[in-house]
Symmetry: D3
Subunit: 228 residues, 6 copies
């Protein structure tokens, strides 16, 4: 399906294995981003509405017309347990496309959160419900239900292309997208990275220096660093 | 009184009934904004200095010259129990017009909070005092006391015109202004809306879909939505 | 050492007395900024990654090339107990120059926090560790280690020049820089200011007005303020 | 008519005298802004689509719903020769509400330009037609015609309240609004200011210093300025 | 080829017919955007470095690592006469990835312009050469040549997905992307639109109103518009 | 003199040789920035008020209090023929600190332009006078003359430290600062760079590729670039 197509709901999408997704959630955004070669990071203006959530899920993508949230209702029917809604807009907006009723509906169907390149409202309720959202804005301005977009076509969200079924990982550091086919391999690399970092962390805690742990002194000297 | 007039303090303003104001606080910003036909919302850059406050009060308006907070002292004398200070500036600024001493003074006279299209400081103290502020910025830069503005004239605050005595509702979603004369009617509509939403929420929780609750399927089909 | 010099690590810098530094921390940013004549405040886009920290320390300055955090490793070796890392960049960036491993290393050597005119990542970990950071952005995007910058040369950080050994004070209101030589005098003025404010706060709490406490009524009348 | 009222077209508005309006155009924005006591300036993000235009006219105000330009068609019927369209939105948007067809229509009826707190498109055509626009954005994204706003009610445009019939002056420096009733007096003050500046300009050209022309040296010395 | 793939140069891409491309250039951005159903518009922060250029060409896409312009050299070898370079970055940057030498090289090979979601420099030279650029920033800061990206893979540029071979149309209003397969049909619709607009323009010039030309009066009355 | 010092006018500053300064002007900002190792570039938000100016001069620095332009008058007396005024503010502002009268005065004394980390007004007049300005904003809002700043102390301007007497080069690409002591050496390197580029430009014009001119093919292959 061409990115940007409107008027279409794709009902069957492939998803990554649940244990891979859950494994990626544990790794967190920064580690996953590194493990997959520093790609897939959404723009840093995407911020969580509350601090502390760390989730991963399969992207259920939504392409929305300007200030129109109709497609979210359509998308909710397509939710599988463990999905994360990912909404991109055809034209930029800070309006509040999503609030507590939609969250109640999505949560009831197993949705783990929302990543939206627009605004969200009822954030006090969403916080209380434990429904995490990463958004560009918080804004009470409502939207309309007039024009078709699509569900489960590739969408651009916060400067990044997200395909339906890609794995989304989100925490306090932001949001990263992992291609579905790469998810298992990325998890493996992320775990190796974490293992390596755990060992390093102990040495750092003990007061060792990165200069020594990583053997940087020689290269710094070669580059001409002068201690005065 | 013409908006933008300087050098004037209006001492008598009409206020909405206390129970109407308190009722609007319970409704919250998003509901009130919807209930009054999606108008009156301040720009979404207005953010609370701490999470969780939800207040309503009568607008005691302040028009301030650039980087000059003198009029806040003048305004505090005019506070009636239950008022919210609403400050607009003649020229945009992020400076900290307001801090803990002014908050102590305002709170002592019954003020419920501050909505300021500029900066605020001492936010740790304000948080501890439970004095909520919605502002454009947090900034320690102080202001001066040299030039007259006005108190209780209509002011533009964060893109919205606020009249003295209008009802201000503010929570995590932002700030909305309700015309004083409309406040009781808006409260009634808001309550109807909440009642309606409460019923809907239960159905959503039970797994029903918005597509069915709102009967959207037919209209979506008419618009040409295709399931593939 | 000329500001902007690269390729240099200055190992010996003068620091202010510990009790002066700790005294300034107690005063907080807004008070210190006022006490030193309203200078030294970093741009208000510098925000804490978590709420509630209030620290002061000696500036250990880092000048970093674009998207390159190599010099942070070099800087950590130079940390003395009670220092705060202050990082300015040669070219603006929101990338995440600093994360939990570097924080572990810095904290192990007595570092009290980081002030960085760029991005930071692993903020959930940093929050849990109690390692406070004031930054321009939160961003998982990593950096490289290719090019030399400098350590302990004067740097521009968030529009303000910081010299190595200057005292940095940071809290919820932002970050202020106090010249090392002026630190003791500024502390004294800050304490006088606080003492004065404490007395005033009691009067405000009791309901007295700033108009009377500061004797503003006459000057307002002279300026032509009209009560209607 | 209450600001923010929707669904209303006010057909009769008072306008300032044509010679006053034309006189204000000659004065330019900065001079007019000073002459009326530094108020009425629209936010500095309002920029001309081409350089060099300097116009004044009577404000024909438009209040537009989000991404809806229907009311512009309604407004054009109300244009009197010499008017300037001033559009404020109920919710912020960068979309292109106005293009060359609307400009052709407005120009045919004597409209002198557009001030719009949103986006504009077809700017190459508008430039060729000599139809000046001051806007927040240039954007090809179109709008819809679904919801009522109002014509000739007070509107907030770029942080400033504009009443129908107020005089708008716009040039490369931005846009300023002069209350209709004050226009003649402001023009007089602006002319006095220009006369005074013309004399000063000659002295500056001849190399005299502001320090001497304005007699600043003594006051600077009193404030403690030191020459070293 | 998966969007975001690095380390790959696709040498053979399909392009739209030259006369279709040239036809789209004549239509301009706003018309093309409308003709294809209001999609494909790049973010409005993309501005031309000089006024007046209107071009269309086949997208030769470049995916660039942070602050690294190496792939532009690789891309230039792939230029066919009539191409437009379209550069997306893996991480956002305002640095100047492109200047007069690269423009000389690209122009020598038939390139019609550059669309870059980053910075550009030597803009005076580029203007003199008549090499049009639409960019996010003008910035003299140079980049490096260290890391591989890709050429002719799909890229996200200014919030829009661009496939290699898509038709790019750019003028003073911004930049729009037309899917290659849809280009001929979009041109046809655009021409119909222009023909229709030309007829309308004459009527507007003659003073007819949109209210009458489009028959809006009845629907406005139904919605409840009141003339007072 | 400590950066940030207020209340001081330094009357004697060293300047670079005139022919060096004029030589740097010819080189332009991007070349000078490269030639001095990619440092000294002011933030890219600094834009010229009109296109096409390219100047260099000795920095006559001004440190200004918030919204106060008094020190500009003081600075003008200190102008030597060939100087450029460089204004940094103690607190950020978009207000118009500078207009046509000050420009007339400065130009009469040999000033070549203004670089101001704030706003400017009367830009149509300044353009007509041929007095170039690089600024953060264009804004008609005036300033006051109440508080002392300094003249010819080091100032932070648009994220960069500028010392009095440093050489400022400014053109359409932005503004770069060259340390006075380094100016001659930087000019030499810039000239070598230009000579080298001139040769390269001819080869590019003739259709040669950067891949061959710079011998990049082997290194790209080593990094793993695949042509498909």
């Amino acid at each position: 399906m061409q990115p940007g197509t409107t008027g279409v709901v794709v009902q069957q999408i492939d998803r990554a294995a649940r244990d891979v997704i859950d494994g990626l959630a544990e790794m967190g955004v920064a580690t996953v981003h590194e493990a997959q070669g520093r790609r897939g990071l959404l723009a840093s203006y995407m911020r969580p509405i509350y601090s502390g959530a760390r989730v991963a899920g399969s992207a259920l993508t939504i392409l929305s017309p300007p200030m129109d949230n109709w497609m979210i209702h359509v998308a909710i029917e397509q939710i599988h347990d463990g999905d994360i809604l990912v909404l991109g807009t055809i034209s930029p907006s800070d309006a509040g496309y999503f609030g507590d009723l939609l969250a109640t509906s999505a949560q009831a169907r197993g949705c783990r959160g929302l990543v939206i390149d627009a605004g969200v409202r009822d954030v006090a309720d969403l916080t209380e419900m434990g429904f995490p959202v990463w958004s560009k804005a918080v804004c009470a301005q409502g939207t309309i239900k007039e024009t078709l977009g699509s569900v489960n076509v590739p969408v651009v969200c916060a400067d990044e292309l997200v395909n339906p079924g890609d794995v989304i990982v989100a925490d306090n550091d932001g949001v990263v997208c992992v291609r579905r086919e790469a998810a298992a391999a990325v998890l493996e690399k992320a775990r190796a990275r974490v293992a390596n970092e755990t060992a390093k962390r102990e040495r750092f805690k003990a007061g060792e220096l990165g200069l020594d742990i990583y053997g940087m002194r020689e290269r710094l000297a070669e580059k001409g660093l002068k201690y005065v």
